[in-house]
């Protein structure tokens, strides 16, 4: 039996991992595919986004799969996937996932499922729109690039050629060997399937920076009812400086269900299928203090009852 082709998808919060994964899965009908999806928070928004595809899926939430708190579960998930007769397994790490210890995970998986996987590489997505603002924010971005075998610059359709070149230069500074490709409108060039990405290895395996102590706090909001788009916009604009990311779905007056995505100063909306309630997940830049900021901004901009969870 041939080995399962295994790819890790990394990239900072909002780089487009789920979008690219969805794009990859679109043309794989008839192919047996598994997805391991990792979220920092307790609830999985992206899991819902991907659910419609006919794929084997395991979700690992509440931390990074590379952290000591979840890596055994990650090995366990890979072991389970190895028994399903799949051709491909894609692992979508959380935006804070630092894959510096990927080799350790693969070695442990080899013990549990000998010869099951052919690790084809770590693909790091780089958000061209936000990257230059984010690069100082977290060591995670550095590590994700240092330990990737292919860097894909996403959202190139949103920026000028000068910015693309600046991002490329920065990527080259961190990882001088990985190939760099570009992705526009969420489409990814599939030629990497034919490449031996493992030839492009820059950094040696090292300890991950992910730990339960430095994990960013995440909060979620539940809301029943609907609000005007302007009010939702005002609320999101107010809390934007204090969050790395907001994502979820919301029922908007006159427009119906919308998928909400906030990365840096960019807020995206897209039509979404009806859900039992509106739900947003916030990834905090300011720890637990975000609760107060969300409550105050919501009161000022919307003023209706909602439930905030941690």
């Amino acid at each position: 039996m041939s080995k399962i082709k295994l790819y890790f998808l990394t990239g900072f919060l909002g780089a487009g991992k789920t979008t690219i994964l969805r794009n990859l899965l679109e043309n794989m009908e008839g192919t047996k595919v598994g997805v391991i999806q990792n979220e920092l928070g307790k609830i999985s928004i992206d899991g819902t986004v991907l659910q419609n595809n006919d794929i084997q899926m395991i979700e690992l939430n509440r931390g990074s799969i590379f952290c000591s708190c979840l890596r055994l579960s990650f090995v366990d998930a890979l072991t389970q996937m190895a028994q399903k007769g799949l051709e491909y397994v894609f692992v979508e790490s959380s935006g804070f996932g630092d894959p510096s210890n990927a080799e350790e995970i693969l070695a442990a998986t080899e013990v549990m499922a000998p010869g099951a996987y052919d690790f084809r590489g770590c693909i790091c997505l780089v958000d061209c729109y936000n990257f230059l603002d984010q690069i100082g924010d977290s060591e995670t971005i550095d590590r994700q690039l240092k330990h990737c075998n292919l860097a894909v610059l996403t959202k190139v359709d949103l920026v000028g050629s000068e910015q693309i070149e600046q991002v490329k230069d920065k990527v080259r500074e961190i990882n001088p060997v990985c190939p760099i490709t570009e992705s526009a409108n969420g489409n990814i060039d599939r030629s990497f399937y034919d490449m031996d990405l493992m030839l492009y290895k820059w950094a040696e395996c090292e300890d991950t920076t992910n730990s339960s102590k430095n994990k960013p706090k995440t909060f979620s909001m539940d809301f029943t009812g609907e609000i005007q788009k302007e009010k939702l916009e005002a609320f999101l604009a107010k809390i934007e400086p204090d969050v790395f990311r907001v994502k979820g779905f919301f029922k908007v007056e006159k427009e119906g269900w919308e998928k909400v995505d906030v990365v840096g100063k960019k807020r995206d909306y897209a039509p979404y299928e009806p859900q039992p309630k509106s739900q947003l997940v916030f990834i905090s830049k300011i720890g637990i203090a975000l609760i107060r900021e969300i409550a105050a901004a919501w009161e000022e901009c919307v003023g209706l009852p909602m439930k905030l969870n941690n």
Binding site: C67, S68, L72, S73, D76, A107, A108, V111, S212
Partner: protein, 81 residues
């Protein structure tokens, strides 16, 4: 007696180690605790949840921090006290 506290370095693994150490002291046992933190070594022991405790090759605690009462009981059983 061989006691292994198994887990790749999370906070709960430290807590488990502290509980086992406290119980050993209370029971007057000078058995050393072996910490297994290497991921490959952990899976080779067949352990897939952390923190776990193994005594003489038997998994006695799996995936949780044991209470002192629970750990005392287990140690006394193995030490035939």
């Amino acid at each position: 007696m061989n006691i292994k506290v198994i887990g790749s370095g999370c906070e709960n693994c430290d807590k488990t180690n502290a509980v086992v150490k406290e119980c050993l002291e209370e029971l007057g046992m000078d058995t050393e605790i072996e910490r297994v933190t290497d991921l490959v070594e952990i899976v080779k022991l067949g352990v897939m949840t952390a923190p776990s405790v193994m005594i003489d090759g038997k998994l006695v605690v799996a995936g949780q921090v044991p209470s002192k009462k629970q750990m005392m009981k287990i140690l006394m059983l193995f030490a035939k006290l």
